[in-house]
Symmetry: C2
Subunit: 241 residues, 2 copies
């Protein structure tokens, strides 16, 4: 069963303020929870309606009912288990290889998808501007499908990073060079912009390599690409060789 205090704690963790204060976050669903259990995250409690999680120490498991799960879940259709983990200390930022940097990406689904893409393409470090959505937001955690445990994610001042770096800084702009015709390096920082405004003016000044994904549809009318699908195409180009 789940206590009133636990319900209060877990629901409070939907807000960044309380995640920061408690240094805790939660994940839901067997697949995501199992991936985090298999990684270095420290489990605090595990609430489950059915799975037995044989490798988790019994004093951390609470058997709960569907009705109790509904009280603590952030999902509209709760998914049999919810686990509370400690937020680990951020690893130091290593300026090496290909780095993806986000300039205020706000949508949790987009951030989750981008983390999953970094994992797929072997990008070890994701740098997020301070205004980007928090990776421990429950919707981000769900969208990563466990990839969150395999990518080093660092928050900080993006302008400071870009003004000091010796790596080439790539940014996508309508007037950039056709990415399909560029020789892309093995090291660099790839900046992806905010959903509504793209790359900010201050960050744009720090971009050394302006690139573009060519459009093949109706040039006048086609909307820009979503930031997560643009990231997919750009990482594919950098990695395909």
């Amino acid at each position: 069963m789940v206590s009133k205090n636990q319900i209060k704690l877990i629901t409070s963790l939907q807000q960044k303020k309380y995640r920061k204060q408690e240094q805790l976050f939660f994940a839901e669903g067997v697949k995501v929870v199992q991936e985090l259990l298999n990684s270095n995250f420290e489990l605090v409690y595990l609430f489950t309606t059915k799975e037995d999680f044989s490798d988790v120490s019994k004093d951390k498991i609470y058997a709960i009912t569907d009705a109790e799960l509904k009280k603590i879940s952030a999902l509209s259709t709760p998914n049999s288990c919810l686990a509370l983990f400690r937020i680990p200390e951020a690893k130091p930022f290593v300026e090496k290889g290909l780095i993806v940097a986000l300039d205020d990406v706000r949508d949790p689904g987009n951030l989750g998808t981008i983390i999953r893409l970094c994992d797929w393409f072997g990008i070890e470090t994701l740098y997020c501007s301070e205004e980007s959505v928090d990776i421990y937001n429950p919707k981000v955690v769900q969208a990563t499908m466990g990839s969150i445990s395999r990518v080093n994610i660092v928050y900080g001042n993006l302008e400071t990073l870009l003004s000091k770096t010796k790596l080439p800084v790539f940014g996508t702009f309508m007037d950039g060079k056709n990415i399909y015709q560029e020789k892309l390096p093995k090291e660099g920082i790839i900046v992806m912009g905010n959903e509504a405004n793209g790359i900010s003016v201050a960050v744009e000044k720090l971009v050394s390599e302006r690139i573009a994904i060519p459009r093949f549809g109706n040039l006048q009318l086609t909307e820009s690409l979503n930031v997560a699908t643009a990231t997919a195409i750009i990482l594919s180009e950098f990695k395909r060789g």
Copy 2:
């Protein structure tokens, strides 16, 4: 103002059954509504809290309050206008060029993103299996950002299509050929699978070209790519030349 009957009608259109019965759908937000107004969709009513839409005939515009908009909106944060359009007759399916075919894609956000990608990459036809989510689902309409007006979308029996086609049929599988090393044709059907199960066994038998997007991350652990990001990478490869 908005009448009780209008509220009843519009909220019913969140369900496919009523969209089919009434042959109507709705779109929200200035950007999406404006894109549909600029296309061939036939406007029935336009409800708005502020924009004046000077090119819309006055007898179709209803000025409403924020509280009224909230009653008809499918969004948690309604967006100043909602327009009701007639569902057009599906255009005939033309088996030519590159075609994207969906084998039971169920998530509205994924379908919306894929429509936007088809628009970007100049894919004229999107073929959806009968079990795929309906394109006139409000969440799909929102996610397309207006691209829905520029891609011909046909629903039908995917197995029947694939068993008759003379075009090569591409499908993504773990054991497929590295897409980065294949010479990809200008014509063909690219099948994308269901979110949970991938391409179904029956459809897999009809795939003539098995391809794969190589992984660069931890081979053991990395989750598969989301269907929309996989579509982005595949279309980019077909079109980059």
